[in-house]
C-alpha cells in the first residue's frame, strides 16, 4: 500500500485516510421501492385529499346544509384511510412481535400496544 500523509498506522497495518474510509463506510443507502410507492401514495392521497377538501370549504359556506356533504365525505374518507393505515402498519410488525413475545398473552399485549402506538402516530399526522 502506498503511503499518504493522511494515512494512519495501526499495529502492523496501515489504514487509508480515515475520511476516505468514512466516505465509503457511510455510503448512501437507496430507499426500498415499496417505501417510495407507499410514501407517494400517502402524500398523494391521504393527507392531500382530506386537507384539500376541508381547506377548500369556506366557513361561511358551512351555514348552508347543502354544503355539509363534502366535509363529511372528506372526514369519512380520511378516517377510513387512517384506520386502514393503522391496521396495515400494525400487521407489518407481526413477525417482530411474534419473535419477541414469550407467551400468547404477551403477544396480545404487544399487538394492542402496537395498535395504540400506530393510531397515535396516524392521528398526529392528520392533526
Amino acid at each position: 500500500m502506498s503511503e499518504h500523509p493522511d494515512d494512519f498506522v495501526v499495529g502492523h497495518r496501515q489504514f487509508a485516510d480515515i475520511e476516505t474510509l468514512l466516505r465509503r463506510a457511510l455510503s448512501p443507502v437507496e430507499p426500498p421501492k415499496e417505501l417510495e410507492a407507499r410514501l407517494e401514495a400517502r402524500l398523494g392521497s391521504l393527507v392531500d385529499m382530506a386537507a384539500e377538501e376541508l381547506d377548500a370549504l369556506e366557513i361561511s359556506a358551512m351555514r348552508d346544509p347543502r354544503n355539509w356533504a363534502r366535509p363529511v365525505v372528506a372526514v369519512a374518507v380520511g378516517s377510513t384511510a387512517a384506520v386502514g393505515l393503522v391496521l396495515v402498519r400494525t400487521q407489518r410488525r407481526r413477525h417482530k412481535r411474534r419473535r419477541e413475545a414469550d407467551s400468547t398473552v404477551d403477544l396480545v399485549g404487544r399487538t394492542l400496544r402496537d395498535l395504540g402506538r400506530e393510531a397515535r402516530r396516524v392521528a398526529d399526522d392528520l392533526l
Binding site: F8, G11, L26, V29, P31, L39, L43, R93, R121
Partner: protein, 185 residues
C-alpha cells in the same frame, strides 16, 4: 382572504415544489434515518414520518427559507423525530449496521475482505460516538452536506460545526486505533 383560484394555484405550486423536494432528497432522508437507527424497518418509518411532517409545514418553511436549500430543514425534522424515537423507546441503536454495503455497493472479490473489515470497524466506531458527533459525520459523509448545511440542520454556528466535525473525526480515529490495537496478536 385570497380568491379561490389563486389559493388553488398556490396550493398546486406548493405541491409541485414539495414533490421536487421529495424526489431530490428521499435518498438523503432514508440514508440519514438508516445510519441513525441502524435498521431498515425503523428507517422506513422515520423517513415516512419525516416527509409527512415536512408536508404539513412546507409552506411556512418555503416562506422562511429565503431561497436557501431546504435539505437542512428536512434533515432537522428527521433528526428531531429520531430523538423522539429514542426517547419514546428509551433505547439507543442496538442493531449493528452491517448490510448497508450490500444495498449500495457490490463486493465481488476476496481481495477486499480486509478492506471490508476496516469499513466495519469504522462503522462500529461511528456508532460509539456521542450523538452530535455521529450525526455530524453521517451528514457530512453519507449525505455530502457542507459545514453550513450541517450547521443549519443541527442549529449550530458554522464555526461550532467545524469544530464538532474535527473532534468527531479525531475521536473516531482514536476509537478505531484502540479497537485495532486490541485485536492485534
Amino acid at each position: 382572504m385570497a380568491a379561490p383560484d389563486s389559493t388553488g394555484a398556490e396550493k398546486a405550486r406548493l405541491d409541485d415544489a414539495f414533490s421536487e423536494l421529495y424526489k431530490a432528497h428521499l435518498r438523503d432522508v432514508y440514508s440519514y434515518s438508516y445510519y441513525r437507527v441502524g435498521n431498515h424497518h425503523d428507517a422506513e418509518d422515520l423517513t415516512e414520518q419525516t416527509f409527512l411532517q415536512a408536508y404539513r409545514h412546507f409552506a411556512r418553511a418555503q416562506r422562511e427559507s429565503d431561497g436557501r436549500p431546504l435539505r437542512p430543514w428536512l434533515i432537522r425534522i428527521a433528526h428531531n423525530l429520531a430523538a423522539n424515537y429514542y426517547r419514546d423507546r428509551s433505547r439507543k441503536p442496538q442493531t449493528p449496521i452491517d448490510d448497508a454495503g450490500e444495498i449500495s455497493a457490490v463486493h465481488t472479490t476476496e481481495a477486499i475482505v480486509e478492506d471490508r473489515d476496516d469499513l466495519k470497524r469504522i462503522l462500529e466506531g461511528v456508532q460509539q460516538l456521542p450523538d452530535d458527533r455521529r450525526e455530524a459525520l453521517i451528514m457530512r459523509f453519507a449525505l455530502g452536506m457542507d459545514n453550513r448545511e450541517i450547521a443549519r440542520a443541527l442549529g449550530r454556528t458554522d464555526g461550532a460545526t467545524k469544530v464538532l466535525l474535527h473532534r468527531a473525526i479525531r475521536q473516531l480515529e482514536q476509537t478505531v486505533k484502540q479497537a485495532e490495537g486490541a485485536t492485534e496478536p
